[in-house]
Symmetry: C5
Subunit: 353 residues, 5 copies
Amino acid sequence: MPGRYKQITKKVGLPPGTLLHIGSTRSEKVKIRMLCYSSEHWNEKEFDKVDELLENKSITDKCWIHISGVHVVSMIEKIGAAFHIHSLVLEDIVNTNQRPKMEDNKEYLYIIVKMIHCYDNKNIDFEQVSLIVGSNYILSFQENDNDTFEKIRERMKSTTGKIRSKGVDYLAYALLDCIVDNYYVALEYLGDKIEVLENKIIVHPQPKVLKEIHTLKNEMLFVRKAVWPLREIINVLSRGDSVLFTKDTLIYIRDVYDHMIQVIDSIEMYRDMVTGMLDLYLSNVSFKTNEVMKVLTIIATIFIPLTFIVGLYGMNFKYMPELEWKWGYPAILIIMAFISGCMIVYFRRKKWM
Amino acid sequence: MPGRYKQITKKVGLPPGTLLHIGSTRSEKVKIRMLCYSSEHWNEKEFDKVDELLENKSITDKCWIHISGVHVVSMIEKIGAAFHIHSLVLEDIVNTNQRPKMEDNKEYLYIIVKMIHCYDNKNIDFEQVSLIVGSNYILSFQENDNDTFEKIRERMKSTTGKIRSKGVDYLAYALLDCIVDNYYVALEYLGDKIEVLENKIIVHPQPKVLKEIHTLKNEMLFVRKAVWPLREIINVLSRGDSVLFTKDTLIYIRDVYDHMIQVIDSIEMYRDMVTGMLDLYLSNVSFKTNEVMKVLTIIATIFIPLTFIVGLYGMNFKYMPELEWKWGYPAILIIMAFISGCMIVYFRRKKWM
Amino acid sequence: MPGRYKQITKKVGLPPGTLLHIGSTRSEKVKIRMLCYSSEHWNEKEFDKVDELLENKSITDKCWIHISGVHVVSMIEKIGAAFHIHSLVLEDIVNTNQRPKMEDNKEYLYIIVKMIHCYDNKNIDFEQVSLIVGSNYILSFQENDNDTFEKIRERMKSTTGKIRSKGVDYLAYALLDCIVDNYYVALEYLGDKIEVLENKIIVHPQPKVLKEIHTLKNEMLFVRKAVWPLREIINVLSRGDSVLFTKDTLIYIRDVYDHMIQVIDSIEMYRDMVTGMLDLYLSNVSFKTNEVMKVLTIIATIFIPLTFIVGLYGMNFKYMPELEWKWGYPAILIIMAFISGCMIVYFRRKKWM
Amino acid sequence: MPGRYKQITKKVGLPPGTLLHIGSTRSEKVKIRMLCYSSEHWNEKEFDKVDELLENKSITDKCWIHISGVHVVSMIEKIGAAFHIHSLVLEDIVNTNQRPKMEDNKEYLYIIVKMIHCYDNKNIDFEQVSLIVGSNYILSFQENDNDTFEKIRERMKSTTGKIRSKGVDYLAYALLDCIVDNYYVALEYLGDKIEVLENKIIVHPQPKVLKEIHTLKNEMLFVRKAVWPLREIINVLSRGDSVLFTKDTLIYIRDVYDHMIQVIDSIEMYRDMVTGMLDLYLSNVSFKTNEVMKVLTIIATIFIPLTFIVGLYGMNFKYMPELEWKWGYPAILIIMAFISGCMIVYFRRKKWM
Amino acid sequence: MPGRYKQITKKVGLPPGTLLHIGSTRSEKVKIRMLCYSSEHWNEKEFDKVDELLENKSITDKCWIHISGVHVVSMIEKIGAAFHIHSLVLEDIVNTNQRPKMEDNKEYLYIIVKMIHCYDNKNIDFEQVSLIVGSNYILSFQENDNDTFEKIRERMKSTTGKIRSKGVDYLAYALLDCIVDNYYVALEYLGDKIEVLENKIIVHPQPKVLKEIHTLKNEMLFVRKAVWPLREIINVLSRGDSVLFTKDTLIYIRDVYDHMIQVIDSIEMYRDMVTGMLDLYLSNVSFKTNEVMKVLTIIATIFIPLTFIVGLYGMNFKYMPELEWKWGYPAILIIMAFISGCMIVYFRRKKWM
């Protein structure tokens, strides 16, 4: 992730508004999906080229145009021209390393958010989603072509939902809600990892665990960085300053805001928990090592006086009366047994064993 | 607790207002208690079905309807329809994983709080309580059927209390006050645990204690997360923006606010104390281990030169004059006693023993 | 101190305004001291019963009524009725576990503060003082009967002081100033303890010191908790929102405010210093232990090769030519002396000794 | 860097507005580059003396005068006089140890920023850039003569760019944007260092690494100190309080502001990561040392009883029946093998090996 | 420094406005320097008594009266009476333990600041300076008689400076600027100490260094406490609320404010650096100790099996065939050399040596 800035540095000194794709290199075809809808009818089309899109654009209906892939800069440029979008906004769309932000350009609202994907609860991935919300159209840009928004498209196909009868601001809410819902999946992923790591720490603390804690901490830093700014964005939205969002939709936006607060609360709590885990791990490791060392040192301590005694009677002095005694050997064995017994009792009493 | 998000992720992509119970699965019957009252008379009924409730609803009196159990989504839906409650609010009521919050929908005030239960001072449990405060009715939703609000019902039965003569806003205050009073029980529980742990740390520091500190820290994180947002809610209430709360009741709300501040102050102080305990534990453990190691090492150090000496006279050189001396053996014993005596004196003086 | 919440939990579910003494149980008699004064005359009386007080109450003069002891709930109730004090305020007065706070009830100002006592620089104690400041009277409630306010009474007896000629707001200032002055005594107590502990750490670091640091830290937490909210209270007072405080007195209140800031600054600085002390202690202990271990290990290391050599010539092989040499024994002694000399030189050079 | 204050202390007691160059001593010649431009024509000249500049100054065109080198105080003084610049501003320009700041003197805007250079990804360097933005001129002062702004000059030479047609406020934006773009290079440098260090910590933790972490931390502190204040400056600029900046340019300024937020976010995240690295390093080191000690202690523990046994049969007692047995020697060998086998099994089972 | 509160506690219970000198006891004579000046003429006089000052006070000119020494309370009282200064202000002037603060009493502005002196870069000292800025006079009070403001007096003697032509507000600025400039000297002192300590830590980490870090940390705490409040004071001044400060002077005040920000920034950065140093020291010490222990343990480990072997052949069994072999002794020497060789190779490969 830190490596990403290498790409940004390519832009140093270029004039503003220069479109330059920043992100992992891709070669897939860019797909354009247009969904024109009103409460009565709806109409979905898929294009490969921007020109086809522009020809087919309906003017009367509400329209959701979704572009999967922002790596073909020329396409973004054409769309930008057709919808009168400021070149700085286009620059941000193709730069997938943006911080979540919102800009109110009067005619349209421009929102950048980070989508978080979790694959098989194994790893976590970030994707930039840009929304341009106009009076009767929404442009959404995504890095990849995945089925995140599929459920929303399905809800739109069924005639019963509110989503068809309400304006595009409600659709914008639905998209944001869908993205925030995905944050819960990330929270679940992080929560699972914390539980697994806590078990590992208690059962078998190893340096590998430490690296996993370190990785988890960094993942949390990235999630936090992606999620935190969105809170402020949705807060501003919910205050209803933009004329594009009707009062009716604001209730729903406030609901998303509550979710955001909850997500951020949980991340902060997780951070505290991980910090606690690190302490737990470190003292568990040091405790275990200390225990081992203590036991081994005690064994050595018991044998040291004994070894001294047997050395004593291994001396070759000519005049050592004990050596001549008949019961000298068994006596010394009993004495040594007694000494080691005393030491064990002493250590036990001191709670060293 | 982190596992709870698994349930929320089921909601990803569903339209807003979809009622889906989130929380531990339950099978008990849902109980509905209706309490209509005025300063002159009062009237308590219990129902199993929503329809019975709606038939019996009095219009003129003040009314407190308490629903124990939010896992039967259809009942919540019916009540919602009867009282014209927004679908997003209903969604929050059945999602027992909400953050405490308040919403002023003009016609009614919607408040979510967390009740904390302590069972036998052994463990701590959280329960979501949702209040809907209308002009002359209160709806309260609880996850379980327990007797937390029993005392309030009893106070209402006696004619002397203010609670009968005042409006439903005073009843709302009484319910919040009751919930906040329960926080003191949680504080007592945490305070007791801290005292017990501090004793353990001083008397017999063990790794088990460390795990208990870790658990206590996490419990505090959860209590904090449940309690903290309520402060802001009650602060907003006490400012008197809502028309549903009379000026007279605001004095009481401010009293609850003071209690909240005190609860939060104590939690923050407890956190500092627990952090201090961890330091105390860690250094106590390391001090004890070091003491053991030091004593053992000193024993070893005293015997090492002695063992060398006895080894010296165990050598088989042909010409070792000392071995032939008559007083060689006792002389060497005295020398060794002298050496070890010197070392003990030296170690004592250096304060190593 | 954490045990105090046990008493609060007795109140769970009781209606608001129920008077219940919370604090350490006492049996002393409650004393009531009335001091009526104007710039011309003054008049001090002492009563045992509230009725006597009410009979003797002067209406024209300024009046300071001081009650020592809040554990006789019925007396507080009577006084409250006579002075038209809200039942919630009375509840707070008898609950000695309140957070410092201020309430402006238009007719009177209600202030709770914590007095800190230091006995012989040995231990620290907290006492709740409640002030009710009316237009021409002050009610002050204290847990114990001690001579904290004696100096103020003496100042009032002398005719020269401003305190007689000015209103009761000036008297309220004098009481607050006296309480804040006592905080400096607490600061002195804490500062002395820090100095003593720092000396102990440098001269003779022991685990006992660690416990003392821990106790000191907790004492600071309690002092901080007692002092911190008063800052905001005096800040609000000094802004002059209350009509009961004249503009003339506000200058003095601002002076108390400056003192509060200084007290809080010092507490924060003390906390930083104590944290630094903990670090100093821990590394001093570990340094000393390490030094001991190092010296002992070096002794062992010097003797280990020597013990090997003497063992070598203690072997019973038939054909060991060295054993037969005439100068074998002295030669081996010289060799061993040489080896240990080399090792000592090497260790010295490496700065290990 | 801390040594820099030595130079500032030379100024103690001097009257304000005294020009005194503070920074590393230089002897290169100061270069003055004047670039007069409008959308139709442009004109670049280079001077050595201020007088030449003043003679050639065009009045009608927009003008960018760039001075490389602020160590010749007399030149700065002359320029200041010609452009009516306040003496305090001139004092700040020659004092290269300023904190980034902005001042709106109505007639001109005065901005100090820090440029960060990275040489070959090896080390990082700071340089002060001062901008004076008037109604139709920009004065820029730089400590060195490097080619940082070369790209902007080139963009101006080409007729196509917006930079020629727009006012000097747009040029000011371009300069700030160029400086902020350089911060990304610094981020890349820091990110690379973090990655390299993380690898080193995992593969081969050495005390050298610790010093590198320490250096990296300090570098981050300096970058942070240089970057942080610029955020507020650009925020103030983007609010559009200054009449010198047109509404049209503000969109671009806000874009720079977004970049600043991103830069600061990243620095904060890097700091968290480095703190995590330190923990990782310390526990890795202690783990490795502990492992070594444990293995060695285990070896010693296995041999200690064996050494005791061989010492036992090295005693010279006259009556030791075992010594006479024929199979005594092989028996004792087998017993010792058995004992050491048992110990190894035991240690394995306890997971100590 | 903590001991200072002992003196404050003497004031407990005294009426406000009681002048009581708090600070180190002094016996030097108090000097009064009066400097009357206008742009045309100036006039400096020195007095020992307040009465002389009052007789000589010019009414038409701007006047700077500097009192060196605040320990003679009666003099301060007289001056206070002559200039109509509030008794609380006088109380603060003689109490040299004040927190920096500013009070606007309409007729005069009262400012308390802390001067920091560094003697020979060895130790640091604090001195309280109080300024009373009237419409055409300045009173300045200092604890000692040193030459800090000498440079300002010299600037006033020369006719060229702005300081003579401008009002007393400019003089007040000059005094504040002089005090803030002295903070840079303190920064230099702290920066030097950090550099010296960092060197010591890397070259020869000793427990003495730890105590020096601890002292440095505490010094920083005191500097921070003295400097921090001044920032807010100068900020308020620069906002221009006081009528005593002309708009022209505010530009200079803002310059001082910038310096203050820079000073505080540096102190915060130094604190971070010192914290980093502590970590560096602790891990350096533990690394060095660990290295020693490891080497010594390795030596012991190599000799332990060898000592076992020589013990083995020191046994006195009758039937030990090896002892009879002719090449037994050289064979066992070779075997032992081989074993120790293997161990050394193994340890080398494991990077333990």
